[in-house]
Symmetry: D2
Subunit: 357 residues, 4 copies
């Protein structure tokens, strides 16, 4: 780390991206292009070898000169860190080689999120080929795992839904019993970009626009990820009902979380507890009690906002959490992890104001 | 009624509309213009006196020749039925005069929905000036109150949220105890047209588009309406948490309802129970178990669709309900009530296929 | 025809659809399901053999009982008419067999729109395998070709852009010279459903929403179709600049057409001329001078609306034309053709009021 | 200026904003909050006196601490520059007082755009109360007026439509005759935020979403502004047809400009001419020939992109221009002017990458 930290003061972190043709990829590029502490070194895509990234993503014209190249040609082993903005299964296939070359890696997919291999294999339908790397991987939710992340060589960047639900519940778990952990409900809503840039009928404008629906009710891959982290935070298995929904907007995510306050905790000042817990966090904003956060208040920014509600001062606590699913829910959080791993100021390159309207 | 019924076979029901310049108004006009059993007789608006309705709503060009007129000039007392597509407070101010003239009335606002006057006055901040008419008013949810509605002179047409939540829960209430009625959660999502055609900043395209938020968490006017009906269905006071959200789409509503199955009811075949309950209903469609209804499947139609989910066959039952908030949630339901009140086939003029895409 | 006409009074027209899994297919199904003069007999899809259409398109639940079947199993030769809602190339491959069996056909793709085979092959990159059928095919723009269509066995249903531009210009062409036909500009804008239900990145919600662009500027397949028809209307070759654009909405199309009035025609009352030309047309609505038609005024309806503007009473005439690209621009017009071909009232099943909002 | 320039190297420019409650206001705040060379000093609003701007616009939480105050309390005369993000008529009423106090001003409305007072009064329906200030005001299109702007005390920041059309045409005007200047057509399309944050029915989500229309065809206030600048660029009066349209998206503007190439100019390499003209411009990006710029490629950025098309190498040149109407079309351009006026690097605080998707 001493080495790393000193390098950052003198020279930029060399960054590689594997799979930059999806939405988390272009979002990484957008943010890294404006990051003063990095040097974009390589971006790989087998399919688009030779195409300038700014040709595929014209918003990058004038900002990113790099072209896609095949992994063979791209000097990933010369990077300090490599982001995987790929489907699951890719990061694990390249992890060992990169680690051996002294490269650290941040996987934006799920290869290094679930410590339990059976759970991984059950939900992702592929064998996990890299269990020893998984062992050392750190779950990249900075606000929960800062010390471990600073030293991590491998980071499993959290899923978008988990980020909202975990940060929305963390202050309530792990201390004095406050809520009925056997019965937590997270009713989550996501913009369509969460489905990625794959050409699929269900993600077409004419299918998703002017429309709303739930999906994955019978089981969503983020369920085991959320539950594993909640179990750990609580210190015991929790009961979780999780229903994601698809909102006709590009970016943005809101989770409405319902918990029941235990009788012995009815006098708790939850608002103060949340404010205190996140007082020093640059990217978690606890709104005044009774606020109604909207997703546009975080559009294209790395901030996540939380508001608490307790209707009629009863035993139901409702936690509203908003984020931009592509930023705090993906690329921004990954860069926040990178900053931490390389001793850069945690919010370097991440301070942009949300776009409203 | 004999008189009414015979009249329908021979001559059309004469219909008046008070306040046709909002979205429920134009939706009534759209549907009544295609209804073979009615004659549009009068439509009132103080502000737009003399303006042809098709000038304000060009979709009606070639279909509706009527012009707005002031209540003074419009022969409402010559109608068989008058719809109030007005803010709350208007219907109650004209009810007695119309009833005295033998006119029946259907209020799409809230004047005749809440039997308890104190509750009404608490939530709507105006005195109820018409308690005796309220006494005879019938809550216009056809699937629950068909016999009373057939004879009703005054109908309080249900709110949009209540329609989804009540039809989603009705099969579970009133018989053998099946669910924990002390802890029902309804997480509802509505298109923006539910906010009406008032010029308000919060409903602007640039505010509501590409955005998502909860609102009314501290208390929404539909909460007491839903609770009053649930209490009656259950036969005892229920506990209800209700959180509405605003979706960036024009029409459509989805309620995600969470209930806990009682231990003694774990073997219940809820799917069969729902299918049986609604087997003869023209406008309630129970989808196959595990379906994921989307709002566009009912866009511009009077159908409400329900799907049941029981993740992991556990003790949580999740009920998904979709409708078009302007049709089954407002104008279509009002016409369904009218059909019933005047002995017309219940689905007359209401059989249009939903618009997809 | 006598046979056909008499059959319609006594028994419904038997209808088959080839390729009902796209947006023109489901739109045909929606409209035919409500059409009192037809019997939906068969719908083919190789890929979805056996799937009930209402399962793919849940808006049809309760309205259409048919399932997709392979062409082999579907009794298309037993139909009176077959609609092709397929990509180009399919209708021409099945035309002869159907005609031989006495079936008439309406192609919603381009196989029978362009009389010039070389032009077809240049733009569509496939050989035309059916030139003799093409010879007898009639261009299905009812308002221009009514007599020929009534007798047609094969109809090339017009493209969506051509419908707006041709109906917007027809009154100005073919008589006394009124406009400079060497320099016509059509700046057209279409909703995304015009791109169909194919899974393509460019049609994804996250690509097309909150975005606007021109496309096909270097050459769009509708250009030769529009030009061929304009040439014929004018009686000589016209000069046409055509630029289509993509609007982030599902349905709807607006063409802004710019023509220059000839000096000798400056005193023409264009408004009166248009009104007179379309006075007896059920589906062409000439708005009062200076109107600003919006696409939602025709959403889900078969009506096309036209408004004329002449800024400063100068020599520029601007013609605004709106339609629903899936209805008057595709499925509705196809049904209008069918009605005409089978002696049914031209507007049978096509009188629905547009959905607003 | 020496004074100004030296001050910028040592201390920030003190900025005031009049009327920060609209969309150009919040956009100024968003961009100025991230601008390293300014100090936000005062923001006025009579109606919202005392309200923190971050309460009205929650995207600014953590970035802007300022509260609105009345003009009386806000020390505008202590500013170096004041932006007017107000309706027309406000800047002219305060200009003299501010100038007298040594404050420079940039009006984002129209008070200082039109040099001809009669034209102003005809289109804006109010008397111009400040003709002498108007005399010295400079039209704030940096790419055309850089030298004058560097010294300006008063800047009339261009309208959004004019920015696209003027930068799209400037390379063609003023030199050797290249195009028929008597017949220029600009078919422009704007996102809804161009209509501002006023509560008006026409800007409601349920009116503007899933809809498209032309407006202002009979005459739009930007027409005289565009024409006056074009006349000046051409050195003679031009003929301009301008038709704006409303696109269902929040931000973004595309102008499709049609000009006819003169016979003597047919061999011109227009692509090279445009590239050369804008080679040194930080915010004008000439795309490769035949490109199809989309509005999202400039979303939330100050870049304007231009693409040229010449179908069939004929005599029609089509110029496509995209910008973000709130940035290069308003707030960003205003800041670009400020940078220039105060000797700051022209792109300071304006280098953000566009948001895609």
């Amino acid at each position: 780390m001493a080495n790393t930290t000193s390098s950052t003061s003198s020279k930029p972190v060399k960054v590689g991206i594997v799979g930059g043709t999806g939405y988390t990829g272009v979002e990484l590029l957008r943010m890294l292009a404006q990051h003063p502490g990095v040097e974009l070194t390589a971006i790989t895509s087998r399919k688009e070898d030779g195409m300038p990234v700014a040709e595929m993503f014209p918003n990058l014209r004038g900002h990113v000169k790099l072209a896609f190249s095949t992994p063979e040609k791209a000097p990933l082993t010369g990077c300090d860190v490599v982001f995987f903005a790929t489907p699951h299964g890719v990061a694990m296939s390249q992890a060992k080689e990169l680690l051996a070359a002294g490269v650290r890696l941040i996987d934006l997919a799920s290869d290094f999120r679930l410590k339990d291999i059976k759970t991984f294999e059950h939900w992702y339908k592929i064998p996990h080929t890299c269990p020893d790397v998984l062992d050392e991987a750190v779950y990249g939710l900075v606000e929960l795992n800062r010390p471990a992340l600073a030293k991590a060589r491998v980071v499993g960047n959290p899923g978008c839904y988990p980020t909202t639900i975990l940060l929305g519940l963390a202050p309530l778990l792990g201390g004095k019993p406050l809520i009925d952990t056997s019965d937590i409900i997270a009713d989550s809503k996501s913009g369509v970009s969460g489905a990625g840039r794959k050409a699929e009928v269900g993600s077409l404008f004419s299918e998703a626009s002017d429309n709303f629906k739930a999906y994955g009710v019978a089981g969503h891959r983020h369920h085991p990820e959320i539950k594993a982290q909640l179990d750990q935070l609580a210190g015991h298995p929790v009961g979780l009902t999780f229903v994601p929904h698809l909102v006709p907007m590009i970016r943005g995510m809101l989770s409405t979380i319902y918990v029941r306050i235990l009788p012995e905790a009815r006098d708790t000042d939850f608002q103060a507890m949340f404010e205190q817990r996140y007082a020093n966090e640059a990217f978690v904003d606890v709104l005044p009690a009774g606020s109604l956060p909207d997703t546009r208040s975080v559009r294209a920014s790395n901030t996540l906002r939380i508001a608490l509600h307790r209707p009629g001062n009863g035993d139901r606590l409702i936690i509203l959490v908003v984020q931009d699913n592509l930023v705090k829910g993906a690329a921004g959080q990954a860069i926040q992890n990178m900053n931490l791993m390389f001793g850069l100021p945690e919010s370097m390159g991440l301070n942009q104001v949300a776009i409203l309207p």
